[in-house]
């Protein structure tokens, strides 16, 4: 039982951070039909900015550092949208992939100049860096923080999409941008907003996970493949599907390690293939997008 609880919480916290990154990517894809390979870079920038703001101290500063890092990443996203991504809307996906991969390279090299090549860490405030015991299982409090932030992000997104006029426009853009534009909606401004929100989510995820990882170059690369896979098995453009998919990936990972350790790393990819073979448009995707 104790072991089971540890696995469950670990899996949820893993899936939670994955969801936050992937939700931003799927939102951007849904509204703009742009696939952004530099999304992992935004996540990495969130983490690096966090190390800069928190510095050696912790405490209250930790929390506003998350907010500040995320907002700056959102601003960076807005700049990316205005400078480059805007011109990719409506282009072939291959063009988008190459262009955003170029952005990925530029951002990676820039990060190397800004933060160096060594690993950095962030210490969470003592209030959340300890552990608690349930049913004999010793669990990190910070796992609950990650899960909590992920749930909050999920609810926030849901509220934004379902209960605001901006959300209505975004959903309309997902369905049919032409109709929306002829209805007098400024698509450019909407796209800018959506891209910034997507970047914000990546920034939050990057900043929030810092106490559990080492922040170093290469973070961008290691997250982007998994994120792409989560987004695709969730169904491109579907935020709910992304949440489900993050869980599927997390569970596949954990089950793999328990069932067949020497094959563990293959389980995640097998899960992706299985889902797509059974449901070629992802869990909650719509055909012909």
């Amino acid at each position: 039982m104790a072991r089971f609880l540890i696995e469950v919480i670990g899996t949820l916290s893993d899936a939670g951070s994955l969801f936050m990154v992937a939700a931003g990517l799927t939102l951007i894809f849904g509204a703009m039909r742009v696939i952004n390979l530099a999304h992992g870079s935004l996540y990495m920038y969130g983490a690096f900015l966090m190390t800069t703001f928190v510095g050696a101290s912790s405490g209250l500063r930790f929390w506003w550092s998350i907010a500040l890092a995320a907002v700056i990443v959102a601003a960076l996203g807005a700049v990316m949208e205005l400078g480059i991504v805007r011109f990719l809307v409506g282009k072939e996906p291959l063009t988008q992939l190459v262009a955003t991969f170029a952005l990925f390279l530029i951002l990676a090299d820039t990060a190397l100049h800004l933060w160096g090549n060594g690993a950095r860490t962030v210490v969470a405030p003592s209030s959340v860096s300890g552990r608690f015991t349930i049913a004999g299982a010793v669990l990190p409090v910070y796992d609950l923080v990650i899960i909590g932030v992920a749930v909050a992000v999920g609810i926030g997104l849901w509220a934004l999409l379902r209960h605001t006029s901006v959300g209505w426009r975004i959903r309309a853009a997902v369905d049919d941008p032409e109709v929306l534009e002829s209805g007098g909606v400024n698509l450019r401004r909407l796209n800018l907003g959506v891209f910034a929100v997507g970047a914000l989510l990546a920034g939050i995820a990057g900043a929030v996970v810092t106490p559990q990882v080492s922040v170093a170059p290469g973070m961008d690369e290691s997250i982007i493949v998994t994120t792409l896979l989560v987004v695709v098995i969730g169904g491109l453009g579907s935020v709910t599907g992304t949440a489900l998919a993050a869980l599927v990936i997390g569970i596949a990972d954990t089950v793999g390690t328990l069932v067949a350790p020497t094959w563990a790393s293959t389980f995640m990819y097998l899960a992706v293939i299985l889902v797509l073979v059974v449901r070629p448009w992802g869990l909650l995707g719509t055909p012909e997008r």
């Binding site: 696995e7 170029a102 690993a119 080492s214 170059p217 690369e221 954990t254 390690t257 350790p261 790393s265």
Partner: protein, 430 residues
């Protein structure tokens, strides 16, 4: 150093050729093929090359090693050069990819006419580079990658190993444990990413425990996939087995990340972990460095003055390095510096830059380096360097302002006790 392939970052095409597009299309151009700036050995200078990993997550190792080489060469030049010639360094990023490393090396040898090569970070890249060095009769010095195979199955007379190899390092850790445990029974767990270096390092550690007749009981062995983000299942399995000691074959950023997560489970309260807690991960961890854990390191700058770190000029080197690069020298920088010193010694002894003569001169030679005398033994060209083990301190070192090791705990594993015998090494060659 050991290491995994961190995904090569070469997905992009460079299009410096964009302006040449018409030419390229009309007949695919080769204009840049031969365009590496040729710097010949004539005109009072010679060139040495280092192709190593300078981008992605293991860039720190390659970058600092290159700094060690550049500083060594600067010092050689400041003292009048070698055989009356100035030495120049050419370097290139191998993106942790064997084919790129091999191509860089070939270009350095044939276009830049380098007279010596300094090795890469990743073992597989080193495996690709060693035979090419031999083919062109250029000595190659390994000061970061430390796979035993470089000196056994892949042995060439042009290859030299300045790092404690993958057999020596786990043996040193086991020797420390034997020393600490005495005859009492201890419970042991292991943790390593599931790839060549990780599994062979763990196997070497277990074998060494057997050889040293340590009374141990193996309670849990965890091999998570390389790059696993969620290590909670492995951690919980380890914790559930209650080992007193855990041998961890991770290093750098991965070790830092493991330590952070394990801290949150209270892992270090009941378990002493044995891992490569060298200065860089300890610096990255800062206040969350696990006091009481057992670290090992290949050339710790803060042990300057102790055996194996006590050659002439070691303290001058450290302060010079700090002044020039703003940081203390990593083990990779120190070992690459000694590699350059070894090459310079070989050149002087042979009286020529000819690779075969230099290699012959170095085989079995004892060289005076900043680490003290180092012998590159004739049978497999492995340097007789020690490995350092110590306990992570709970207090900040006043000099370096870092949490390092307790000075009283430092254990220096003697080269002759951790090296394979020549007979064993030769047996592995076939």
């Amino acid at each position: 150093m050991p290491i995994r392939h961190h995904t090569p970052r070469r997905l992009a095409a460079g299009l410096a050729l964009l302006l040449l597009a018409p030419v390229a299309a009309a007949c695919s151009s080769t204009s840049s093929t031969a365009s590496s700036t040729a710097s010949s050995t004539s005109g009072g200078s010679v060139t040495v090359g280092e192709s190593t990993t300078l981008s992605s997550s293991i860039a720190e190792l390659g970058q600092t090693a290159l700094q060690g080489l550049e500083l060594a060469v600067a010092n050689i030049n400041a003292h009048g050069g070698l055989l009356g010639k100035k030495v120049k360094v050419v370097s290139a990023d191998d993106s942790a990819t064997p084919a790129t490393g091999a191509s860089n090396e070939r270009s350095m040898i044939l276009n830049d006419h380098v007279v010596a090569m300094f090795g890469p970070v990743v073992s597989s890249v080193a495996s690709a580079e060693e035979p090419i060095a031999a083919q062109y009769h250029i000595p190659i010095f390994f000061s970061v990658s430390n796979d035993i195979a470089l000196m056994t199955s892949g042995f060439t007379k042009y290859g030299f190993q300045l790092v404690p190899n993958t057999v020596m390092e786990p043996r040193a850790a086991a020797a420390y444990l034997a020393h600490e445990a005495g005859s009492t029974q201890i419970t042991v767990g292991t943790f390593a990413p599931n790839y060549s270096f990780g599994t062979s390092s763990v196997a070497g550690f277990i074998q060494a425990l057997k050889d040293l007749h340590v009374n141990y009981k193996l309670v849990s062995q965890q091999f998570p996939p390389l790059n696993a983000t969620n290590i909670a299942p492995y951690l919980s399995a380890l914790i559930a087995a209650h080992p007193e000691y855990v041998y961890n074959a991770q290093f750098g950023g991965d070790l830092v990340s493991f330590t952070q997560q394990a801290n949150q489970y209270g892992f270090f309260q009941h378990t002493k972990m044995i891992a490569m807690y060298s200065a860089q991960p300890l610096e990255a961890l800062g206040s969350s460095a696990p006091a009481g854990a057992i670290g090992f390191d290949r050339a710790p700058f803060w042990l300057a003055g102790q055996q194996g770190m006590d050659g002439p000029g070691i303290s001058a080197f450290i302060s010079q390095f700090k002044a020039k690069y703003g940081d203390y020298p990593s083990a990779w920088a120190i070992m690459t510096y000694t590699a350059a010193q070894s090459w310079a010694y070989g050149v002087k002894k042979a009286g020529t830059f000819n690779g075969t003569s230099v290699s012959n001169a170095l085989s079995g030679a004892t060289i005076s380096t900043i680490r003290g005398p180092i012998t590159l033994r004739a049978c497999d060209h492995q340097a007789n360097v020690p490995e350092y083990v110590g306990v992570v301190s709970s207090t900040v070192d006043p000099t370096y302002r870092l949490r390092l090791w307790d000075p009283s705990s430092v254990f220096i594993a003697q080269p002759k006790t951790i090296m394979l015998t020549c007979a064993q090494s030769l047996a592995l060659r076939s």
